[in-house]
């Protein structure tokens, strides 16, 4: 059902696709669609919580010796769906989002929810009772760094390894803050400064 829906959303636009069409394409009745997915957007997001929870488990399982951002990067690298099917699904999802203003708003809401869950995990790794603004901000920045890497993967050649792109994007992030990782990439991208 989700694959059928994603394909329709991507090719015909999210708003223009009806539940009946999704049912038709998947060879089931509209009632079956409603049983699984009470709303149209729930088709797009149904496994997202699972993914975030898996990511968080991985993050919390990273060695204590790792820095926070380092652990976050390692967990993204381990969790990213990187096979051809995952790439296709994400690419169709992006197209669906581009086709609908409301979906762009909903996507923001889902992102905020995921960031909240990740911020809780950051607090847990720090052995803090509750999350503070520092946890929120770190979760938000790590998430945007990851999303940029995935977007680059979707925009680029299919053979590229998304894990390398994630590691590279986190290295760029560290470089902005003068972190130790910067050394090699800074030499490579030495830009003339006024």
């Amino acid at each position: 059902l989700r694959d059928a829906a994603l394909l329709l959303f991507a090719t015909r636009g999210y708003e223009a696709t009806t539940t009946e069409e999704i049912a038709d394409a998947a060879g089931v009745s509209p009632r079956t669609v409603f049983r699984y997915f009470p709303t149209k957007d729930s088709i797009l997001y149904f496994r997202e919580d699972e993914w975030v929870i898996g990511f968080i488990e991985n993050f919390l399982g990273q060695p204590a010796a790792f820095g926070e951002v380092e652990a976050m990067c390692a967990a993204f690298v381990a969790s990213v769906p990187r096979d051809a099917r995952g790439r296709r699904a994400q690419s169709r999802y992006r197209q669906a989002v581009e086709s609908s203003l409301t979906l762009r708003g909903l996507e923001y809401d889902h992102q905020q929810m995921a960031i909240g869950m990740i911020a809780d995990a950051v607090a847990q790794r720090r052995h803090q009772e509750t999350r503070d603004e520092g946890c929120d901000l770190l979760a938000a920045v790590a998430t945007l760094t990851y999303r940029r890497a995935v977007q680059r993967w979707l925009d680029g050649p299919a053979r590229a390894d998304v894990r390398t792109l994630i590691t590279h994007e986190f290295a760029l992030l560290a470089e902005l803050f003068g972190g130790p990782v910067a050394a090699t990439s800074r030499r490579r991208s030495a830009a003339p400064r006024p």
Partner: protein, 205 residues
């Protein structure tokens, strides 16, 4: 004489624009963004629907149109930061310089936040405006770095800078105790510096 009538016209124009925006914010707070039409806004401001569209091309531009000036302002202040300053410090300093202006608009910003919270469609518009903002800021950052075009590092910095600014704004709006928005900005940037400067930021091989 003609100079003074031109300026009177400019004043009247600015007044109408402000009246329309205030009317829109009031109505959005009352009925939610999706429950208000451009006709409603014009009526509340005491002008015709046609006048509304002379000032604002779309309903969302009443709320989001002002953002454009904001980024023009960023483009003006950012290049003035001292040459020896790192990019991230310069971004932080630029937002700090913007703070007094933001602090004067607290009530309006709260009304704006309420309107945005009332409508997923409006949140979609906000995303679109923000991606334009990000690209504009990335260009300004590229210029200071002596690049013709923003590279991925400039774009990442623009995203991270806006994210930290946004978080500082949320925290300042949510908490009456944090009277000083400048403090909120520097605190948020410091959190990132602490987390990232001491962290390798990528897995050891």
């Amino acid at each position: 004489v003609s100079g003074s009538s031109t300026s009177r016209r400019a004043v009247r124009k600015a007044e109408t624009q402000t009246a329309l925006r205030d009317a829109a914010l009031e109505l959005f707070a009352e009925f939610g963004y999706d429950g208000v039409t451009t006709e409603d806004i014009a009526e509340r401001a005491g002008v015709s629907a046609r006048t509304f569209f002379r000032y604002y091309p779309t309903k969302e531009s009443v709320l989001l149109g002002g953002q454009l000036d904001w980024y023009r302002w960023f483009a003006e202040v950012y290049p003035r930061q001292p040459v020896g300053m790192t990019d991230i410090e310069a971004v932080c300093r630029t937002f700090v310089e913007l703070a007094p202006d933001i602090m004067q608009r607290r009530e309006r910003l709260l009304a704006y936040e309420r309107a945005v919270a009332s409508s997923p469609t409006l949140r979609g518009h906000v995303q679109d405006y923000q991606s334009v903002d990000r690209e504009n800021i990335a260009k300004v950052i590229a210029t200071r770095r002596g690049l013709d075009e923003p590279d991925e590092s400039c774009r990442l910095l623009a995203s991270v800078g806006l994210c930290a600014f946004r978080a500082a704004l949320d925290s300042w709006l949510a908490d009456r105790q944090t009277a000083d928005f400048r403090r909120a900005v520097t605190d948020h940037f410091r959190v990132l510096e602490t987390a990232l400067a001491t962290d390798r930021g990528q897995p050891r091989s």
